[in-house]
């Protein structure tokens, strides 16, 4: 019961939070110089044509009025139209966000599968090679840009070796996307039981997932290792040792106690990558949401950018709610 009340209270704050985010990003975007009307019509357009399109887009009204109009539209589920794609932003984003989420989620899963065991082992085996490996890995992963690693991978595995699929989106041209259920090709092709498509999806996912996963495993390893280091020296683990518990149980208890920290770093990485994977998306022509928003910024196309902001805000708020519920599941001290 307490849990449901808590979720209810959290959801109550979602609307004011969203309003704040939309307001701040709307006014910040409006401060960027550049006239969309001018960009749309090109340098040779007549003043009348420009004025006409400005009044159609509502650009001749005051900022506050524009904001109110925008808010009303957002509340009715309309994020406006992108003048670059000439499609409603909502429709564009519904196609692109699943692409980004699929990439980011799988990358982070990969990073976790790699990072947690390495972090634990590095903490347990202080004088081992794996401990040294983790130290240098953290340094390397922190200093290499992800898009650069992506380019290297493309060069090695596609250009030279020819093992990987072409870095041109999520599927080969000849293959139709699976019927939409979740929006993730990976899941949808599995649901459809279409192995040809599934294999193609995996082939296209491999390099970008490797790129983002390897880079983001760095902080996960670091966090796992340092938390495990601290916990293995903690009072209750030493006491568990002096009760004669086996090493496996000791490690399991220590890891359980380090889960909240790992969860924190994962949630930070996740929310960051929703927009922050954009360079890797560009390198692999992924067609994700970050890429879409970026081209909006570069072309004074405000609706895609605002749409992206609203979507990411909603996703982040959902993400943080889930993370908080996971904290509850892990730590009984938070439940009261």
């Amino acid at each position: 019961m307490a849990l449901i009340r808590y979720i209810g209270r959290r959801l109550l704050f979602v609307l004011p939070q969203l309003f704040g985010i939309v307001a701040v990003s709307f006014f910040l975007l409006k401060m960027i110089p550049g006239d969309p009307a001018l960009l749309m019509l090109g340098p040779l357009a007549s003043q009348e044509a420009i004025n006409e399109i400005r009044s159609v887009m509502g650009l001749d009204k005051s900022l506050i009025e524009q904001f109110v109009i925008y808010l009303e539209r957002v509340l009715s589920g309309d994020l406006g139209t992108s003048w670059q794609t000439t499609k409603p932003v909502m429709e564009d984003l519904l196609k692109r966000f699943p692409a980004t989420m699929e990439l980011v989620t799988l990358s982070l899963l990969f990073a976790l599968i790699l990072g947690i065991p390495v972090g634990i082992l590095a903490s347990l085996l202080k004088k081992s090679i794996i401990n040294k490996f983790s130290t240098y890995y953290g340094l390397l992963a922190g200093s290499l840009p992800d898009f650069w690693l992506g380019l290297i991978f493309i060069f090695v595995f596609y250009t030279i070796l020819g093992w990987a699929a072409a870095p041109m989106g999520r599927l080969d041209l000849g293959i139709l996307p699976p019927a939409v259920v979740s929006g993730s090709y990976f899941i949808d092709s599995l649901i459809a039981g279409d192995w040809e498509t599934f294999n193609n999806v995996v082939a296209h996912l491999t390099l970008p997932v490797l790129t983002l996963g390897l880079i983001n495993a760095g902080p996960i390893i670091k966090m796992t290792q340092s938390t495990m280091d601290r916990l293995l020296e903690s009072d209750h683990i030493r006491y568990a040792r002096s009760c004669g518990l086996g090493e496996f149980q000791i490690v399991r208890r220590a890891f359980r106690n380090s889960l909240p920290s790992v969860l924190t770093i994962v949630s930070v990485l996740y929310s960051f990558l929703i927009g922050g994977a954009v360079l890797v998306e560009i390198v692999f022509s992924w067609g994700g949401a970050g890429q879409y928003a970026l081209s909006g910024v570069l072309n004074a196309d405000i609706n895609p950018v605002m749409g992206f902001v609203v979507w990411s805000a909603v996703l982040c708020l959902i993400l943080y709610l889930i993370v908080d519920l996971l904290y509850f599941a892990i730590d009984p001290r938070l439940r009261d």
Partner: protein
């Protein structure tokens, strides 16, 4: 002779090395033995090396501490030279530890039933149902009220005294032969302390346990122990049967400690020291000598004659 001894320390030395060479010698050349069914009290101020001795016996010294010399004999086996695997069989089942600050010594994420259960399951190879029964039984034995519902309580839901009872339960659950109590009541207020001490006293008598009772409170030790050792800067300066110790304390540090704990002027006079005597027999250039002299049967004092 050896059959009547539960645990003995022979010339145990514990060192916490610094970056260069030997750093702090926390325990120096400590020897004592504890007979079966007896309680040895170990008293000393903080930093005297009490906890280092407790942790050395369980081989859980905090890094970088290490045992550099001596042996710890439990039932004719040397704990110092055991492998980790062999040691684990003894810890928690034959030798168990009661720690201070019970709330930080319990895993915050697991119920106390689970934590106690893990220990019996590890040592006695019980299944879940048997383990649960054993846990409930021991929770009852340490007089935890409403033990059925406490079984699924988390450490943070317990009071300090209750958590201390859980730790005592943990130390008893596998029916050990030897229990180390490391300042077990230090975090508790006096009334709870009294209850816990009473409980421990009953259990020790009932189960015929051998106990190393480490405390800062010499008054507590007086009521509780058969023998008393006084620790000063990592060395035992005086060790004696309890009556002999209080009737005839000899070392100036013992006297100083006793007079500090004496609440009446009369007793303070009885336990008074003559600083003139200090330098001659008991201290060489401010340090205690290496030799101990037996002044009565079983009453050893670190001095020269």
């Amino acid at each position: 002779m050896t059959d009547s001894i539960s645990l003995s320390l022979n010339n145990l030395t514990v060192d916490y090395p610094g970056y260069k060479g030997s750093g702090t010698i926390a325990v120096k050349d400590v020897s004592f033995s504890i007979e079966k069914g007896k309680v040895l009290g170990l008293v000393g101020e903080s930093g005297a090396g009490k906890t280092s001795i407790a942790r050395a016996i369980t081989r859980q010294l905090v890094e970088p501490g290490e045992i550099t010399a001596g042996e710890i004999i439990f039932e004719n086996k040397n704990i110092v030279s055991m492998s980790q695997k062999e040691l684990r069989k003894y810890l928690g089942s034959q030798i168990s530890l009661i720690v201070p600050n019970p709330k930080s010594e319990l895993d915050p994420l697991l119920t106390i039933g689970r934590q106690l259960g893990d220990v019996v399951k590890t040592h006695l190879k019980l299944n879940n149902k048997e383990a649960r029964e054993a846990v409930l039984k021991v929770l009852e034995a340490v007089q935890i009220p409403d033990h059925n519902s406490r079984y699924s309580a988390y450490p943070h839901e317990l009071s300090g005294g209750m958590a201390q009872r859980v730790i005592i339960a943990m130390s008893l659950i596998c029916n050990p032969k030897f229990v180390i109590s490391d300042d077990a009541t230090s975090g508790l207020d006096v009334t709870v302390q009294r209850e816990i001490m009473k409980l421990m006293q009953n259990i020790i008598k009932e189960k015929d346990l051998s106990v190393l009772f480490i405390t800062r409170d010499i008054g507590l030790a007086a009521h509780f122990c058969d023998h008393l050792g006084l620790l000063f800067r990592g060395q035992i300066v005086e060790i004696a049967p309890i009556n002999s110790f209080f009737k005839n304390p000899i070392h100036p540090y013992s006297l100083a400690l006793l007079s500090a704990f004496s609440h009446s002027v009369k007793w303070r006079k009885v336990y008074s020291t003559d600083p003139q005597k200090w330098s001659k027999e008991f201290f060489i250039n401010g340090n205690v000598p290496d030799s101990m002299i037996e002044v009565e049967k079983g009453h050893l004092v670190r001095m020269i004659r």
